[in-house]
Amino acid sequence: MTAYRAHLLVCAGTGCVSCGSFDVRRALEEEIRRRGLAQEVLVVATGCNGFCERGPILLVQPDGVFYQRLKPADVPRLVEEHLIKGRPVKSLMYVPPNEREPVPLMKDIEFFKHQRLIVLRNRGRIDPEKIEDSIAYDGYAAAAKALAEMTPEGIIAEITAAGLRGRGGAGFPTGRKWDAARRAAGDTRYVVCNGDEGDPGAFMDRSVLEADPHAVIEGMIIGARAVGAAGGFLYIRNEYPLAVARIGKALEQARANGLLGKDILGTGFDFDLEVVRGAGAFVSGEETALLASIEGGRAYPRQRPPYPAERGLWGKPTVINNVETWANVPPIILRGSAWFAGIGTATSKGTKIFSLVGKISNTGLVEVPMGIPLREIVYGIGGGVPGGREFKAVQIGGPSGGCIPKSMLDLPIDYESLKTAGSMMGSGGMIVMDEDTCMVDIALYFERFAEEESCGKCAPCRVGTGAMARILARITAGEGTADDLDRLEALAATVKQGSLCGLGQTAPNPILTTLRYFRDEYEAHVFDKRCPALVCKALIAFAIDPETCVGCLLCKKACPVGAITGELKKVHTIDPQACIKCGICLKVCPAKIHAVRKTPAVAGAAGSPAASTRTVPPARTGGPR
């Protein structure tokens, strides 16, 4: 085996790939060949590093130097300077927001420094398409231990003692679920991985599947052994083609190495897995709906109990856990429940991955111990809100979650605290919002989402989400009345209580939390016909300040409806009758001139309340498309 003096770890997660990391990899390989370094330097494509916003990312090991936003054109210089002359290239390094000096080493970057990696332990250091890489970092050692040295009861006891809870949102104790399936009557049992990560704003499961597919497979082998399952399924979202490809390759490699199939590792245990691709329905992330989808039907949820652990796939006991939960299993088995239970809070053990996105400086995936204050995630790791704007709220838990306001930034994050705050862990999406985000618009966004994604089986969700969305649309159009707020609250309570599955039961959360923490914004829309964040189109206007306009024609050229008049070097004006409030003029007006202004709409003007404009085309659900 060749010993290389340097490894170039190129991130090949979806984020970096979309920014061109494969081109960077090719350029690196070529340059290294050209320079005759092929025997000394190895280029490796790894899974997602999490700091997606800085892609394409390159980590040079063993130095630990972190390069970001690379282009193929940077490669010759990087190879020449760093790998031949030994001078790391400062200009390609990460510079923290509002600072000037780059931070050369990955371990010193704030984004990475505060994280605690259990599930993402192999991120950025292994090639997810090579089982040897995974095995070199203890991959399948836990499976070997579980199969050869532990009893099924012993495995379940260990997972229970660790305090592992479901990472898909509800936080059900994993050990109890497994125990119920083990005790359920019948010979055939299944294990299922829920990889239908539908929450908008969450992508940790995709990242784990892409970066470390063997960890998920290994967790499922251990779970299968514990409950006595001979078969299992990985249900993965249709929108995640790279994850499907990587897990498929990993399954082949595991089979070829005797880690799946008959008589695994010579222990007499038979188990195999199959990949099922989702087909685009948010509701299929609900466990009973997901099982219906695997069976080949429409993803309709059903009444629980009986829970899938008792009656699941084809009526057989089925353990269904999400990707992140399965990936937690091998480290617990390998390092012991006491180690895992030592991390986190009294009721929530271990770590949680959050996707930190929206109005935040450092966007990406972060894995942190349970109980970490929200402030540390947003400011410590995330670097706060960019562009000097004011932080307003964090939306946690997707369409089932809620908005946590600034006053609660010191909230320690775990399952219970989030629930008390009216939100929920959900899958761990954290969308940061600043003063330019309208909370009523956000509530409307989520209710439209819920309405569109409601499967239609039960009336409270099918009808209720739409009714709430219509009231919210009225409020954002400046046509809301005082009764609307009460009506929203009453409807929210009904939908919460009366819905069949989690989708409907949690759909009112975005409304309830925004009403609870940002009632003043609702009231401004309803009583003053004003959108404080200047987002709701019916309540805003665009105008050009004649004092500052230099007559550059940029906005006039960009206006899609020809609403702007003016000549070169003469002040331009916007015709409010023709303006569709798309905001393009504001974006093209040079920042140093800043002549285009967004203002509250003047009552009675065209386009102000009553002439409501729709912001998003109506949802298309059901029926032939």
């Binding site: 979806t14 979309s18 916003e53 704003g201 979202r237 087909a279 996105v357 929206g358 966004y445 498309r625």
Partner: protein, 157 residues
């Protein structure tokens, strides 16, 4: 594109008689033709032994299936939460204006289908648009024209 019987037979062969393979078979057909032609659905019903009504039930339930022919170019605008707060809605509107169709529709010449999606899980790139499989991150209204021009160029080359 209309499917030939032999091709449909090939696409359904390994699933014959297996009801649970319904979604996977429909996906294979959609991957091949970019939509689900009626004759394909009838073929699937027969091959798998599933009532035609159930095939339609599944084909209309899931959003990745299209019962109408789609354009040569597929433009998908992400409106996940991260994209929404970073202005994805304005990007979609610009696509709608440029193409002259609303989301979910295909241009009359069959060149473009405009779609929106509720999250592609590439939130760090928000707002995001995907055209013919190419991801365009940090989209702006101004970039829409460039992105569409690139798609045209790819077609000619």
């Amino acid at each position: 594109m209309r499917p030939s019987t032999s091709e449909l037979a090939r696409l359904t062969a390994k699933a014959a008689g297996r009801r649970r393979a319904l979604i996977q078979v429909l996906q294979d057909i959609q991957d091949r033709f970019h939509w689900l032609p009626p004759e394909a659905l009838e073929h699937v019903a027969e091959a798998l032994g599933v009532p035609l009504v159930q095939v339609y039930g599944v084909a209309t339930f899931y959003k990745s299936f299209s019962l109408r022919p789609r354009g040569r170019h597929i433009c998908t605008v992400c409106l996940g939460t991260a994209c929404h707060v970073r202005g994805g809605g304005a990007v979609l509107e610009q696509f709608e204006r440029r193409l002259g169709v609303a989301a979910g529709e295909t241009t009359p010449d069959g060149a473009y289908t405009l779609e929106r999606v509720n999250c592609l899980g590439a939130c760090a790139l928000a707002p995001l648009a995907v055209v013919d499989g190419h991801y365009y991150g940090q989209m702006t209204e101004a970039k829409v024209a460039t992105v569409l021009a690139e798609a045209e160029k790819d077609e000619r080359s």
